[in-house]
């Protein structure tokens, strides 16, 4: 199936219907939980990440977000990340005190090159965090309309209003920009086709021709964007918009059970994190599982 990463998917799950503010706060909490250290034992931490991964998969499925698409859409980037990380694996060393035998810290050796457990664990950390963060943001952006996201962000940033930063004006600007993205796309498509009919070739051609072709696209696009923005400003004024005046806010969503559940989930999650951080459980120590040395 075709999905592009992070793009809103118009499904009708309870996560889609949930108040964007609840989702935004929950997302931030989940993100924080990805960056916490839960145990001195790195393997225990990684185990918890694996649990988080499973939990996020469940949330993805509830929101009908294809979590596999993350890996597919980022294929090109993954290659690069993994290349850099592998280099990192080869060239990091644990800082051992003088005279300590490095042998137990070494996972394996390739010729004269020692690969330490530490580097492998570090590598797993970075990958785990990256995957988890992308997953959680992807769930949020795929299940929340851009406009609702803006409104939630505006709500979250209200304290900035206290220091006279006009948050609502920025929010209005962002909403309008989001609203007009499809319009601009249509316009771009239209102008490209009109110029293609005049013999412009956007796919082939020499560099100089391509530059000219771009000019033939950008100038009309700007002209049309200026016209549109002027007309939009008139339309907004005609309906009584005054950037400095007080306005009420229309909300489509009514606070429902699902939002309450969302809050409950977020609260439980916070409690879980706190408990984990306080008690620092270590199942490996509990069951006396032998682990390689990491430092």
């Amino acid at each position: 199936m075709y999905t592009s990463l992070g793009k809103y998917q118009p499904y009708n799950t309870f996560i889609h219907k949930m108040d964007a503010r609840v989702k935004l706060v929950t997302m931030i909490i989940l993100m924080v939980s990805v960056f916490m250290t839960y145990s001195q034992n790195s393997f225990m931490n990684l185990t918890i990440y694996a649990v988080l991964f499973l939990a996020f998969i469940v949330i993805s499925m509830l929101a009908k977000v294809s979590f596999l698409s993350i890996f597919r859409s980022l294929a090109a980037i993954w290659v690069m990340i993994i290349f850099v990380l592998i280099l990192n694996v080869f060239f990091t060393k644990p800082s051992l005190p003088e005279g300590v035998d490095p042998a137990p810290y070494i996972a394996f050796s390739i010729g004269a090159l020692n690969i330490y457990w530490l580097s492998i664990v570090n590598l797993l950390y970075v990958i785990a965090r990256l995957v988890l963060i992308i997953m959680i943001t992807n769930i949020f952006t795929s299940s929340t309309k851009p406009m609702e996201m803006t409104n939630a962000l505006e709500w979250l940033l209200w304290p900035l209003g206290l220091i006279r930063i006009p948050i609502h004006k920025f929010a209005m600007a962002i909403s309008l920009a989001l609203r007009f993205i499809p319009t601009l796309q249509e316009e771009t498509d239209r102008i490209m086709k009109a110029q293609a009919s005049r013999g412009v070739d956007y796919k082939q051609g020499k560099f100089k021709e391509k530059v000219k072709a771009l000019v033939a696209l950008i100038i009309p696009l700007f002209m049309s964007a200026f016209t549109t923005s002027g007309q939009l400003a008139d339309a907004m004024e005609a309906r009584g918009y005054d950037p400095n005046a007080k306005r009420t806010r229309y909300k489509t969503n009514h606070w429902g059970l699902r939002d309450f559940m969302g809050c409950l989930f977020a609260a439980a999650w916070v409690a879980g994190i706190v408990l984990l951080c306080v008690y620092q459980p270590d199942i490996y120590a509990f069951f006396n599982v032998p682990l390689p040395l990491v430092k």
Partner: protein, 291 residues
């Protein structure tokens, strides 16, 4: 030149010299986008409460500019605008605008919200309507324009005609006493035009006090109104009942305007040597020809 945004509001009292039944009173109104070139030249007109007016004139004759002046979006160079007898000033323009709904030509650039619902709500938010009452108003207005099944639709999934109907819903949601349509149907197909026309007729039927100004190219629209104002080169050159205005065939032709069908055919017949005398409408012409 745009209005300065002053917050303090002082309503100018009703001017005694303005007739009490006047909705829009323009006095010696002049305006130019550039100082030396006037787009509106000394327009004087008194539009009565509850009248439905058609503004006709070829492209660039100043009709749209006049609409923006009346709504206070542009500020005149000279002359005065009175809305229900109150003189428009920088301070009260925003207040007076509450009584005016203005629908523009371009369906895409006046769709402000992300969905139909949000777009109708936009004007209500500006008017500080209690959010708990908004849903009812939105549903009511959407129903009046036949868009009640599309409340959550996004503009990119709507046709031009549907977007224009939403724009009308957005305008009437604020419950204006004056409704101005600035070529609202010009970019639509015949079906879209017909729907807009029917919606306006229905509004007028339900609320006879509503003053309607229809800026249009369509002769049919003009014929439906109480009064036709003809603009040319920024000047008001004719102001009368439709029958009378459209009797001025020669003048209308000179300023590149279309004339009603019956008049056109009668004139062509006369040119070919068959003079039927003055013709008012299709039926009369039909009778004369089929006798």
């Amino acid at each position: 030149m745009k209005r300065s945004k002053k917050r303090e509001i002082e309503l100018t009292p009703i001017d005694p010299k303005i007739p009490s039944d006047s909705a829009i009173y323009l006095e010696n109104l002049s305006f130019g986008y550039e100082p030396k070139k006037l787009n509106i030249k000394k327009v004087n007109v008194d539009i009565k409460k509850g009248q439905s007016i058609a503004f006709i004139g070829h492209n660039g004759s100043g009709k749209s500019t006049l609409a923006k002046l009346i709504d206070g979006i542009l500020v005149q160079n000279r002359g005065d605008i009175y809305i229900f007898g109150v003189k428009m000033t920088d301070d009260n323009a925003l207040i007076l605008r509450k009584d005016i709904g203005l629908v523009f030509q371009n369906p895409d650039s006046q769709f402000i919200g992300a969905t139909v619902r949000d777009d109708i709500a936009f004007g209500l938010e500006n008017a500080c309507v209690d959010p708990s009452k908004m849903n009812d108003i939105i549903l009511d207005c959407a129903t009046k324009v036949g868009m009640q099944d599309y409340l959550d639709a996004e503009p990119s999934h709507l046709s031009g005609g549907q977007k224009q109907r939403v724009a009308i819903a957005g305008a009437i949601a604020r419950n204006p006493k004056i409704l101005i349509l600035d070529e609202a149907g010009a970019m639509l197909d015949p079906k879209g035009k017909r729907q807009i026309r029917n919606i306006i007729k229905e509004r007028k039927r339900e609320n006879p006090d509503l003053t309607i100004i229809n800026i249009t190219h369509e002769i049919d629209d003009a014929y439906d109104s109480d009064r036709v104002l003809v603009m040319n080169g920024g000047q008001l050159i004719l102001d009368d009942k439709p029958e009378v205005v459209f009797d001025n065939d020669e003048l209308l032709r000179q300023i590149h305007l279309d004339i009603p069908f019956a008049h056109k055919l009668a004139k062509d017949l006369k040119d070919e040597g068959l003079d039927l005398g003055p013709i008012k409408n299709d039926e009369e012409l039909y009778k004369k020809l089929c006798q």
